[in-house]
Symmetry: C2
Subunit: 437 residues, 2 copies
C-alpha cells in the first residue's frame, strides 16, 4: 500500500482525490491532506473518511506532511507553489507527483532538477494529456513510422476559461492573478507533453530555442465587465450565494467588490499567445494559448512528417501515396474524422487493457491513466515516465515565453536541463506498462 501526502484541495485537487478514492483505494492510502485553507482541509478529510472509513492527518502547513512517513507527495496546489513544494518534498526524501503548470523562472527549473539530482529522489509531472487515448494512438503511429520522419508538430491549449479566470476572486482561483500580472504561454504542457514524446525530447533530441508573441488582451475584460453586471443584478435581487461548476460560494457586497476590484485592473495576458520552438534535430513545434476568447475546446494536436500527417481539429490522418488519399489533395473534407479508424488500429496497449476502467474516471480517462503511471512507478520503484528533466524543460516554456514576449518576440535559448545527457540517451526497458519512450 502506497502512503501519499496530498497537497492542495482546490478544484483540481478535489477532483483528482475523488478519482484516487474511486479507482485506486486498494493500492493507495491518503495519509495526509494539506491546504492553506482550513475548510478545504476538512473537506479532504471528509472525502477520505467517507470512502475508506479512516481519517487522514489534516494540516494547513505543508512542513507537517514533509515530516510524516509517506512514500510520496502529490502536489495539486496553486501554480506558484508547485516547484517550491516539490523541492521541499525531495529534500525530505519524498517522491513527488506534481500537477501541471508553467514555471515562473529558469532558476526554479534548475533548482527542481538539481534538488532531484542531489537527493536522488524522482519527480513526476502528472501530465494527463500524455496518456490521452488519441495522443497515445498517434504516438504509436509515429513509432511505427506511419508519418515517416517527423518534421513539425503543432499543439494548443485552446480552452475558453473566461469564467474561471474572471471569478477567481470568488472561488480563490490562482488563474485570476496570473492573467492580471503576466503575459506568456502560461499553460504549455497539455499540448507540449505529447509532442515532446513524439519528438523524443530529452531522449535523443531537445528543445533549443523559442520565439513567442502575444496578441492584444480583449476577451477577458469584455467578459468580466459583462459578468460583473450579472453579479450586480444578483446582489440587487438579494441573492446570497452564487454557483459555478456545481459548487456554491457565499456572495455579498464585499465579494462583489473584490470581483470588481480584481477585474478592473489592466489585463496583462494576451488573448492569443503563439510560440515557435526549434529542436536540436531541426524539427519545430508551435504552441497556441487561446483561453480568453469564445471557442470550443481543442489541444490542436498536429503531427507532420515526410510520409503523412495527423490533425486533431478535423481528426484526420493523411498518408502519402495511398491512391484514395491522393484524391484528397483538393478534397480533404472527405477524410475528416477518419482518425477514428486509425485510432482503433493503433490503440495503445494501456488503453486496450485499462480503457474500460478508465472510461468511468475524469477527463476522458486520462486522469486514470496518468495516476496509474505514477502509482506503477512508485510500486515498482522505477524511474518515472515523465521525469524531472521533462518537468523542467516543459515548464520552462512559460517563463521563456514571457521573456521573449517582453523583448518583442526575441528568440531565447531553452536551457539543456539534462546537462548533456539527452544526447547520450539509451532506451531502457524498466518493465513499466505505462512507459512513454
Amino acid at each position: 500500500m502506497l502512503k501519499i501526502g496530498y497537497l492542495g484541495m482546490g478544484n483540481r485537487g478535489t477532483y483528482v482525490l475523488g478519482n484516487i478514492l474511486d479507482c485506486f483505494k486498494d493500492r493507495v492510502e491518503i495519509a495526509a491532506i494539506c491546504d492553506v485553507y482550513e475548510d478545504r482541509v476538512q473537506h479532504g478529510i471528509d472525502m477520505v473518511k467517507e470512502k475508506t472509513g479512516k481519517a487522514p492527518v489534516g494540516t494547513t502547513n505543508s512542513d507537517d506532511v514533509m515530516k510524516m512517513d509517506v512514500d510520496a507527495v502529490m502536489i495539486m496546489a496553486a501554480w506558484e507553489a508547485h516547484i517550491p513544494l516539490a523541492i521541499d518534498a525531495m529534500k525530505a526524501g519524498k517522491l513527488v507527483g506534481m500537477e501541471v503548470a508553467g514555471a515562473y523562472s529558469i532558476d526554479d527549473c534548475y533548482r527542481l532538477v538539481h534538488t532531484s539530482e542531489e537527493t536522488g529522489i524522482g519527480c513526476m509531472l502528472l501530465e494527463n494529456c500524455c496518456y490521452g487515448k488519441t495522443e497515445l494512438a498517434v504516438l504509436n503511429m509515429v513509432r511505427e513510422g506511419l508519418f515517416g520522419e517527423i518534421v513539425h508538430c503543432d499543439g494548443g491549449y485552446c480552452h475558453d476559461l473566461r469564467t474561471e479566470v474572471a471569478i477567481g476572486p470568488i472561488t480563490k482561483h490562482y488563474r485570476n492573478r496570473n492573467y492580471y500580472s503576466r503575459n506568456g504561454e502560461n499553460y504549455p504542457t497539455h499540448e507540449l507533453g505529447p509532442i515532446a514524446k513524439v519528438l523524443n525530447i530529452n531522449r535523443g533530441n531537445r528543445m533549443v530555442s523559442l520565439v513567442s508573441v502575444a496578441s492584444k488582451a480583449r476577451g477577458l475584460k469584455e467578459y468580466a465587465d459583462a459578468h460583473g453586471k450579472v453579479l450586480r443584478n444578483k446582489l440587487d435581487k438579494g441573492e446570497t450565494s452564487v454557483s459555478y461548476y456545481g459548487r456554491n460560494y457565499d456572495f455579498n457586497e464585499d465579494v462583489y467588490n473584490e470581483y470588481v476590484k480584481a477585474n478592473s485592473r489592466e489585463v496583462k495576458q494576451g488573448d492569443i499567445v503563439n510560440t515557435i520552438i526549434t529542436c536540436a534535430d531541426g524539427s519545430t513545434i508551435t504552441l497556441t494559448l487561446d483561453t480568453t476568447l469564445p471557442r470550443a475546446y481543442s489541444r490542436g494536436f498536429t503531427v507532420k512528417g515526410t510520409k503523412g500527417m495527423y490533425m486533431e481539429d478535423n481528426n484526420s490522418v493523411y498518408i502519402d501515396g495511398d491512391a484514395d488519399m491522393e484524391k484528397a489533395h483538393f478534397g480533404w473534407q472527405k477524410y475528416w474524422d477518419n482518425g477514428k479508424e486509425f485510432e482503433e488500429k493503433y490503440r495503445h496497449s494501456v488503453w486496450q487493457k485499462y480503457g474500460e476502467a478508465a472510461a468511468t474516471s475524469g477527463h476522458d480517462g486520462m486522469d486514470y491513466m496518468v495516476l496509474s503511471a505514477f502509482f506503477e512507478a512508485l510500486e515498482k520503484k522505477k524511474p518515472f515516465p515523465i521525469d524531472v528533466y521533462d518537468a523542467a524543460a516543459w515548464m520552462s516554456i512559460t517563463c521563456l515565453s514571457e521573456e521573449s514576449i517582453a523583448h518583442g518576440g526575441m528568440p531565447v535559448a531553452i536551457p539543456d536541463f539534462t546537462g548533456g545527457k539527452w544526447a547520450m540517451y539509451k532506451k531502457e526497458d524498466h518493465g513499466l506498462e505505462f512507459a512513454l519512450d
Copy 2:
C-alpha cells in the same frame, strides 16, 4: 475595349489567359503576348487567335510591350520578374495587374511603391484568394460584427508542391531554384491577402513586425530522390516524353541529368515555415508555409474575435452565447462544417451576382472574380481594390521572413510603405462592385 499586354506564358500565365479568353473577350483585347521562351510566345498567339480570330503581337522582349499602346500589362512571369516588370510598366505609363509572389528585397518593395507614386500609375496585386467565396463571406461576417473585435487570424499556404518543385528542371518552373537557394515564407499572399482585408491593413491598421522560424528540410529531397528513380526507369525503358499536369515534355538523358543535378543540391527551404506578425492595433497573424510534405490542400484560414471564431480546417463557425454553441465547448465536432450555412447567409454581393458565371472558371471561381475586379477598376478608371501599398506590404513578408530565419527567429520590423497614410485612411466609395474595404 481594354487593351492588355500579357507577360508570362508559363503554367499560370497560360491558365489565366485561357480564362480571360473564355470569360472576358468582349471587354478585353490581348494586344501582345510576351515570354522569354519563343515556343511559349507562339502558344499564346495561337490561343488568342483561336478564340478571337485576331493574332496579338508576339515578342520575347518585354520592352517591346512597354512601347505599345496598351491600357495595362498583366504580369504572369517568374517570381523574380514581377516587381522589375511592374516598375518598367509604370514608367512606361501602363497600369499593372501583377500575379502574386513574394519579394526578394525591401528595396524592391520600396521601388515598386515609389515608382507608382512618382508616375501616378496604379498597380494591382491579382490575389485571387481575396475573392474566394469563403473568404468574402467571412469578411462579411467580420464587417457585420459577428465575431466581435478581431484579435487574431491564422492562414497558411498548405499545398503539397513536391512534384511541381522537383520537376522544375523539366518544366522550367521557377519554384525549383527558389527552394534550393532560399529559406523563408516564400508565398505569403494567398492567406495573408484575405487576412489583411479582415484586419484593415493599410486602411487604419498596419503590420508592424514579424518573427519567422523554419523547420528542417526533408520532404523535397526524399520525394525528389524517389521520383528520380521513377525517371531513370522511364529512360531505361526508352520513353522519350514525360507528362505532368496534362502537359507533355521532351525527355532524354540530358533532361534526366539536369533533373538529378538540380535536385542533388542541398535544399535550403525548410518544410514548414511559421511566421507570427504583430499589427499596430495589437492583433496578431500567423502564417504557415507547408509545401514539401504530403498533405491535403488548405489555406488554414482562421479568424478569432471577442464574440466568436471561424476555422477553415473544419469549416466551423463558433458564436459566443448561443446556447447550442455553449454545448459545443467540449464537443466541437458537432459544429464542423456548419460554416456552409453561415457562408450562405453571409454570401458576398459579387458571389450572389456573378457566382454562376465564375463557377465555370478556374480555382473555384476566384480567378474570374479577381480578373473582374481588375478589369472593373481599369474600365471605371478607379483605384485598385488591392493597391501598390498592399502589394508591397504583403510581398515584403517573404524577404523579411528570410531575414528573421537567418537570424534565428529574430523579430524584424515591417516597413510602413504608406509613409503614414495608413493611419489617415478614410473609406471612400468609388462605386466599385469588387471593392474590398
